[in-house]
């Protein structure tokens, strides 16, 4: 079993992180992992985020593991058909990687090669189901897969995108499909996030999968504005941007903002951990975890109220 699934099964608070996009630069992986290793239980290898080509998530996952931290391989539906997606998951299993996070993916038009063919042969609930099919020892066709790979399957949901009333149901659909952890999209709207988590707890979502809201630590008001305008499905309230803009030290203002959002988030019943996105900013994520009392290293008793997840 993966360390991540072990820890979540014990009901311990987890912190996951995300390293910036990696190109053919091994040292960049080492630098990034060094930043997150002290507080992160696992690190996401993204799958060509915002439709920009980078090193593949499987390759980056292996490099993360070489640096001593457990990877979470993200897989999006944009670039591969069902055959290639299965090959990627089975390929990961061949190397003993277990954590797979299944996403729809940003559209090709979000990237620097909008003329590319978009695939979306599967959607994310279907990809989750296919991953579970593999874990049960079968390819999608029904062909036997022996031995069955050990997989810990995750998904993503966006609490901040319409239709808000349906987002928890969609997350439940992903849980039914086989997802056991759910990394939420970045959300700068605390009311939306709280609404999602509260509704999720009411619906029993937190007992079916581990809820991991994301906390983003940008650098400046300009970065916040960029996220608001360019990251699909993420809005940043104008008041938040103005608040950061008004401070002389905008980076510090962003860290303070992230701390407030994180502290509020981990106090929500049903939250099993945090996913931290800091764009490789030196030390910002570590400082955030320190201010939060290093929840992933000191146990969850003081912070979260997540229940053990059956994995």
């Amino acid at each position: 079993m993966s360390l991540l699934s072990d820890k979540l099964a014990r009901g311990e608070f987890v912190v996951t992180a995300e390293i910036p996009s990696i190109n053919a630069d091994r040292a960049a992986v080492e630098r990034a992992v060094d930043l997150y290793a002290p507080f992160a239980d696992a690190i996401n290898a993204t799958d060509n985020p915002a439709a920009h080509a980078h090193a593949s998530p499987l390759a980056v996952s292996l490099a993360i593991r070489d640096c001593g931290v457990e990877p979470i391989m993200q897989l999006v539906c944009r670039d591969r058909n069902r055959i290639a997606l299965q090959a990627e998951i089975v390929g990961a299993a061949l190397h003993g990687l277990e954590n797979v996070c299944c996403l729809t993916g940003d559209d090709v038009t979000a990237g620097d090669e909008p003329e590319a063919r978009r695939v979306f042969d599967l959607d994310s609930p279907q990809l989750i189901t296919v991953a579970r099919t593999l874990a049960e020892g079968r390819y999608l066709s029904g062909r036997k897969l022996d031995p069955a790979p050990q997989l810990f399957i995750g998904a993503v949901e966006n609490p901040g995108a319409p239709p808000f009333a349906y987002r928890v149901q969609r997350a439940l659909k992903k849980a039914r499909a086989g997802a056991r952890f759910l990394q939420l999209q970045i959300c700068f709207e605390p009311d939306r996030l709280r609404g999602f988590v509260d509704e999720g707890v009411r619906a029993g979502l937190d007992r079916q999968l581990a809820l991991l809201p994301s906390i983003c630590i940008p650098r400046s008001a300009k970065a916040l504005r960029f996220i608001d305008e360019r990251v699909p499905g993420v809005s940043v309230p104008a008041a938040l941007i103005a608040r950061v803009e008004a401070r002389d030290d905008q980076a510090q203002a962003c860290e303070d903002l992230a701390y407030e959002l994180a502290a509020e988030t981990i106090a929500l019943p049903g939250v099993a951990g945090l996913h931290i996105i800091s764009f490789g900013r030196d030390g910002a994520a570590a400082r955030l975890c320190e201010r939060l009392g290093n929840p992933s290293r000191t146990g969850k008793d003081d912070v979260g109220h997540g229940s053990p997840v059956e994995v």
């Binding site: 729809t104 559209d107 296919v130 319409p162």
Partner: protein
């Protein structure tokens, strides 16, 4: 068969923007065709829906799945059974059926044929395994 497909397209094309996937799920999506979603998603809206409810890919277009959600809830005359199907897990599209008649595939039950591995996983889930 070809004639039925042609007639079907002539009717469903202008009304629902039918893409002739050959495995129609309109009844379960508030009579909104999911194949008009630029990502051709069959299982609900992606995370890229804009605050105004419009599409990440085509900002001038309202999200197909948002429309489907609202219509599945409120469209008059839609049987309750169909409304409830909005949240069903729909299987991957069978690309072999593209261009064929969904009506014929419905009557012959060809549109319900899913890969053996998919079916086994769904059956195992239904048994609580």
């Amino acid at each position: 068969m070809k004639l039925i497909a042609t007639i079907e397209h002539a009717v469903k094309g202008p009304i629902w923007g039918c893409q002739m996937c050959g495995q129609c799920v309109l009844h379960s999506t508030g009579m909104t065709c999911p194949m008009t979603c630029p990502k051709t998603l069959r299982n609900g809206p992606c995370g890229g829906v804009r605050p105004d409810g419009h599409c990440e890919v085509k900002p001038e277009m309202r999200c197909v799945w948002l429309k489907a959600y609202e219509r599945a809830e409120s469209l008059p005359l839609l049987p309750g059974r169909w409304r409830a199907e909005y949240d069903h897990l729909r299987p991957p599209v069978d690309n072999q059926l593209e261009g064929t008649s969904a009506v014929v595939n419905l009557l012959t039950k060809r549109d319900r044929k899913t890969p053996a591995g998919w079916q086994a996983t769904i059956d195992a889930g239904a048994r609580g395994a």
